[in-house]
Amino acid sequence: MAESYAAEPEVVHHPALQHHFENMEQQREAGTLGMWVFLVTEIMFFGGMFLAYTLYRGKYPEAFAVASNHLDIWLGGINTVILICSSFTMALAVYCAQVGKQQLQIIFLILTMIFGGAFLGIKAVEYREKYRDNLIPGRLIPGRPFDPAVNPHGAPHDPHKLTLIGNSSVRQVELFYWIYFAMTGMHALHMIIGLGIMCFLLYFSIRGRYGPEYHNPIEISGLYWHFVDIVWIFLFPLLYLLGRHMGGHG
């Protein structure tokens, strides 16, 4: 049952090696696994809201169709394309880091941030529209409760007014908007955090810290960004594409 100790040879450590790790390989593995585990927690976090969405959509399909139809599909659609492009540029940034193309990597990182910022800008425009139409749920905005204008029966289609169908009521539509703001708001918060992370990456990239032997921070930030993108890929059809067969009325 004798034990032996490993002889510790004198090696030159990579400057980015944290001292509690044996080598860069272990550090890279740990960092990557850590990010994946974190993303799992994020799935569970968003999962609660997806559950609420599923339940209430099952309960009030008509109200959800009305509310979803009322969202601006063009803004949502453009945002989806923008976010997919940003994931693409992020993946390219990771690739450039892997092959040592530092200048190109910085450019792609900046492009990703521009796309992300554009997404948030369009989101802000959407939110402002909702504010104007009194569609902010509950009493979140003091003095401006949820009180959308409802289209009376037979009136021509008005994009700023709700056209209720079947048994749907305004309170049920409010539930949809609550879920809409909670989910897109949480998503936007994660995007802002992602942009913050990219600021750090940009700073260190300009300082020349990343290269073929060490680029794990960019890889795992890419993982995070792709996750944020995937959440939106789920959100877009669930929130924006209900009731579209109603022919754009709502």
């Binding site: 049952m1 272990q26 850590g34 909670a182």
Partner: protein, 551 residues
Amino acid sequence: MEEFKVPPPSKVNYLNVDYGLKSWLLTRDHKRIAFLYLGSISVFFLIGGVYAMLIRLELLTPHGQLLTSTTYNKVFTQHGIIMVFFFLIPSIPATLGNFLVPIMIGAKDLAFPRINLLSWYIYLLGGIVTVYALLAGGVDTGWTFYVPFSTTFSNSYVIATGLGIFISGFSSILTGLNFIVTIHTMRAPGMTWFRLPLFIWAHYATSLIMILGTPVIAITILLLAFERLAHIGIFDPAAGGDPILFQHLFWFYSHPAVYIMVLPGMGVVSELIANFSRKNVFGYSFVAFSSLAIAVFGFLVWGHHLFVASQSVYAGMIFSFLSFAVAIPSAVKVFNWSATLYKGSISYDTPMLYGLGFIGLFTIGGMTGLFLAALATDVHLSDTYFVIAHFHYIMVGGTLLAYLGGLHYWWPKITGRMYPEGWGRFSALVVFIGFNLTFLPQFMLGYMGMPRRYHYYPEEFQVLHVLSTAGASILGVGLIIPAIYLLWSMRYGPKAAPNPWHLPGLEWRTQSPPPTENFETTPIVTWEAYEFAPIEEMKVIGKFEESKAEV
């Protein structure tokens, strides 16, 4: 028995390597962070204990003479919140886990030391926000925060308290994340999964629950806060919402949470039983896999908290069946521990006393859980003192005893000092007696119909309540004594050898206390988990003297 080679001890260890507040508050050393947690957790335990004392004092008389009803509501709510979120959930993982996980796998630290420190600060922040809410006026909804009382009718600090709990949840998530990555990627050469101590398996399973379950309570608290603040309607029937949705979301985390609380305790007990009977754990792989099984099954049983909450009967039947199933892996552990004891060389040191106490009390707690898992009996017992007795047998009789046992067992490693054994055994006995006197009467009270969360009760229940309060006083004394002698020992206790208990674990093959990087050189593991020398080869060496062979 061949003595283990431990390098000659140097004077420098993780405690004296650096002095000053900054070296502690900005440390990256998992051992120092564990120490920080030990201090803060003890403070919260004290606060929760004060609330417990108030409850028991109030229940001495049947007509609620000490506190008004609203205040009583606040007292039991806050007892629950502080004990669950700020003591039980972090206790063993954040103190013993943080300290021992890297050492037991032969690593220098956890995978993410700075995130480890961050998790302590987040825990503190959550605790401070919660204590602020308590001092500002408290919360009276019960630790379960059921709607619509918490969203509409309660005039207390629901959102502030919720915020404190929300913040502290991230501490849990980060700890779990750290453990998982560390155990996967930083095991020493030769330390295969099935050579890991069962303490590690238990913490791995606990970490899985932490990372999967805690985000759900986070979003639940957020939804609760928005419902209360902005009257969205998500839990309000008048707006088309569903109050039972809250219960489902809440218990989806809070049931697995109780496994976060008990699994690390089971890991400690595996260590205590094996090491203090100097015998390999019977059925090591069964015990290892049972931890994972508890983690998985624990996510499938939350509906047993909603049997009488208008959940469908068919769902109730499924949850009832699954709740019976989740008892099986726990039973596997109890049987295997008992088999480990059989023909072992048992020494009745303080840690072993706590370990044995755990087995008995956890078994009672677990078996009474079956009464609650059965639909018909649950209708009678739900929301009575039977439920309270059931979970206190597991939380106090189980987790707290395991925590104390582990603390005593690893005390020489953590502090480099030995605690006074006589006082240790005495207080273990006092704790055991006090605990049973407190909670055994509560089973009877519950069965006879005493509702929980009430402070007015029929006269005929008073005898049992008085017994319970007497027990609580004894329990309190039994818990204060270790607080005193453990603190005392840090300065005046006899210095401990690297391996005072003469055990094979990796943590005993380094100094007491360890140096900052844990091991002088990275160990290479060539032995199985609990390899004890044959009994006849054992030399009896005094526990507290520095054996020449060890230096």
